[in-house]
């Protein structure tokens, strides 16, 4: 046996942790950490970003109220993730395809679905999925959207659709699914224009990110598929937008997929269905993240510039909440679904046996 080991695995392992710092433009103290990128934004841009985050926070607050009133079906809270969600989705163009996960309802609305449709989706009403946007419905199976996005990306390429890419989202837990690797690997193999976004909010329901994988970053998971990837401060909307836009620009120039890991935090529960974060997180763990609130840092920049005020924000919140109340009223007014219609939309043309079932239900429904 040679004295010198043929390979130093420990050194290779340690080297995996040599990763760049997450990309950031504005830190949690509202200090500009990348002036060059910051200067690319006009005052109007900054106000627009703030409005979008206030909108998403108001959507979260109001929708959780509706949920407590028993007026929603399944809904995933989004507070804390506004920079990650709005920052990335604002880089989308109308012609882009969206393959969202269940916590990405705000992006689906930004991409063209109405709030009423989103509420109907939450209730399991088919009208909620009849949005005009180029989007799938929010995906429940984590990872599934990634394999489908590879197909959408290849379809875009085969259609020779110019200035068009696919955006898809999953979470930190989703990266453990085989599908998330298969999706990235297929997109890489076909050089399909897909932006894979991992919103790493630290917890897959209760399982912390460190228990999910030994990989030092989730962004590294793209490396094995030959895909460039990067970590971004997911509480910094300027960084999230700038990176998503750079990724999109890179892809529409004819390059293959990109993966972005946004480091963010879910302030509340996993879902509206009884999850209690107190069971798996301490206040001490939560507090530093609350201080990173993406709204706080941009609000400070805008206030310093004289572009924002508390009154203005309160007025906006009232307007937004009023629109959500209108939306849920509209959702309430949509006629309930019918079993006969559920049967009819299972196949393009109902099978002979289903026709009998349809007749049976239609007779009941017409009474």
């Amino acid at each position: 046996m040679a004295n010198k080991p043929i390979v130093d695995f420990e050194a290779i392992k340690n080297d995996l942790s040599n990763v760049s710092k997450p990309i950031q433009v504005l830190n949690e103290n509202a200090e500009i950490t990348d002036q060059e990128v910051f200067d690319t934004f006009s005052d109007d841009d900054l106000v627009e970003f703030m409005k979008k985050m206030v909108w998403e926070r108001a959507l979260h607050d109001q929708t959780m109220n509706f949920s407590r009133q028993g007026r929603m079906g399944f809904y995933a809270p989004t507070a804390g993730e506004e920079a990650s969600e709005m920052g990335t989705v604002l880089a989308m163009k109308k012609q882009d395809y969206l393959l969202p996960a269940y916590r990405d309802v705000p992006q689906l609305i930004q991409h063209g679905a109405t709030v009423t449709e989103a509420y109907l989706w939450s209730r399991g009403h088919v009208v909620g999925n009849k949005f005009k946007a180029r989007s799938m419905m929010p995906q429940i199976i984590i990872g599934a959207a990634y394999v489908e996005a590879a197909g959408v990306g290849l379809g875009i390429k085969k259609n020779k659709e110019e200035d068009t890419i696919a955006f898809t989202y999953t979470g930190d837990g989703g990266t453990s699914q085989g599908d998330s690797y298969e999706g990235m690997n297929f997109a890489g193999a076909y050089q399909a224009p897909v932006l894979f976004i991992v919103q790493n909010n630290g917890f897959a329901i209760s399982t912390p990110r460190v228990k999910q994988t030994a990989a030092p970053t989730l962004a590294q998971k793209a490396v094995a598929a030959g895909i460039p990837s990067v970590q971004v401060d997911g509480m910094d909307i300027l960084a999230c937008y700038a990176v998503a836009k750079a990724a999109r620009d890179y892809m529409v120039a004819g390059n293959g997929p990109v993966m972005i890991e946004t480091l963010t935090y879910r302030f509340g529960a996993h879902s509206s269905a009884g999850d209690d974060p107190k069971r798996y997180r301490t206040k001490d763990q939560e507090q530093p993240w609350f201080e990173k609130d993406p709204l706080i840092r941009l609000r400070k920049v805008l206030e310093d510039k004289g572009l924002w005020s508390e009154e203005q924000e309160d007025k906006l919140i009232d307007e937004y909440k009023a629109s959500f109340k209108e939306a849920i009223k509209e959702a309430d007014s949509v006629a309930p679904d019918k079993v006969s219609d559920m049967l009819k939309r299972t196949f393009e043309i109902p099978t002979p046996e289903m026709k009998q079932e349809i007749d049976k239900f239609e007779a009941k429904e017409s009474k």
């Binding site: 199976i141 599934a144 394999v147 197909g151 959408v152 298969e182 939309r345 299972t346 099978t351 002979p352």
Partner: protein, 325 residues
């Protein structure tokens, strides 16, 4: 008209749909240059180019995810799962995604995907290659499951499957691939996706079968014909949906039925047919429903198949038992 094997009939159908509709795509493991491990896609990449017929990485969920996504962007995918046992890797994409697309979007978006996959015992393959998994997949609403028993049907049913806008699982019988030859019309024709076929008319007893067992049932019909017993044989052709009307009509004439399948007996196609008969035609019967199916064990691969799969002998025994009830 030309004599073609089951496999040539499938290649013929694929050639026609590629020619007919520029939106059709064939992809899967080894389907390109290699023409598929059974040569089903032989020559198609050469003829239609790598854009239309192409190889994929070796991952079944990825293959069907690709199909879902391509479907959403206006394509008509015909993915291949190299052996049906590998489809377990893709169950979410089939059951959780493709089959639900029309229901989710009320038809605004759909998944006109035809999944081709070989299955079926008798060729002594490795484990997870030959399993008859139709029992599993027929329980999925929104998915059509097609199981041709002969080259003529294989071509016509495949053309219908591809042209249909619902997702179809098209199961190709491994044993029949090269063991059967039929006169196949040139050019395009279709066989409906919801009609069983009375392949032999008879008066004394009905055998309901599908896939390779149709040919076993026909052998039994021949043997019994020599004893002046007239057997009617129904080939289901599609196991989702099942054409119960044709079965009921036959039973009303013969009053006896034996249901045959190569798959395990539990909770599957034969059970569904028996249940439909119990609901809709039981008063026409003058003997219990007879069933021939594989034992409810795990599928034994390679030579294990020989003592396990029910064939003509077991069918004949069951038919005699029901006739003499």
């Amino acid at each position: 008209m030309a004599k073609k094997t089951y496999i040539q009939a499938i290649t013929d159908a694929l050639d026609i749909v590629l020619e007919d509709d520029p939106k059709t795509l064939i992809f899967g493991e080894d389907v390109g240059k290699n023409g598929g491990v059974f040569r089903t896609t032989q020559g198609l990449q050469e003829k239609y180019g790598e854009d239309r017929v192409f190889d994929t990485p070796l991952a079944e969920s990825g293959i069907l995810g690709l199909a879902t996504g391509l479907g959403l962007t206006g394509w008509r995918p015909i993915p291949e799962i190299q052996f049906m046992g590998f489809s377990f890797e893709a169950v979410d994409q089939i059951a959780g995604q493709l089959a639900r697309m029309r229901f989710r979007f009320d038809g605004l978006k759909n998944a006109p995907v035809t999944i081709r996959t070989p299955y079926g015992g008798g060729t002594h393959t490795a484990e997870m290659h030959a399993d008859n998994l139709e029992n599993f997949f027929t329980g999925i609403p929104g998915l059509r499951v097609v199981m041709p028993s002969n080259p003529y049907d294989a071509k016509g049913l495949l053309i219908s499957s591809v042209e249909n806008n619902d997702p179809v699982l098209f199961m190709e019988n491994l044993k029949l691939y090269r063991s059967m030859k039929d006169d196949i019309p040139d050019g395009k024709y279709s066989v409906p996706l919801d009609k069983a076929n009375v392949v032999r008319e008879g008066n004394d007893i009905t055998i309901v079968a599908y896939g390779a067992e149709v040919n076993e049932a026909l052998k039994v019909a021949d043997t019994l014909a020599e004893k002046n017993i007239s057997v009617e044989v129904i080939d289901l052709r599609t196991v989702s949906p099942i054409d119960t009307e044709t079965i009921f009509k036959s039973i009303q004439k013969t009053h006896k039925v034996v249901i045959v399948q190569e798959a395990q007996k539990m909770a599957g196609v034969g059970a569904q047919v028996a249940s439909a008969i119990a609901e809709g035609a039981i008063l026409s019967l003058d003997a219990p429903v007879g069933r021939v199916a594989a034992p409810n064990s795990v599928y034994p691969f390679a030579l294990g198949e020989d003592i396990w799969i029910p064939r003509a002998k077991e069918i004949e025994e069951k038919v005699n038992e029901i006739l003499n009830y």
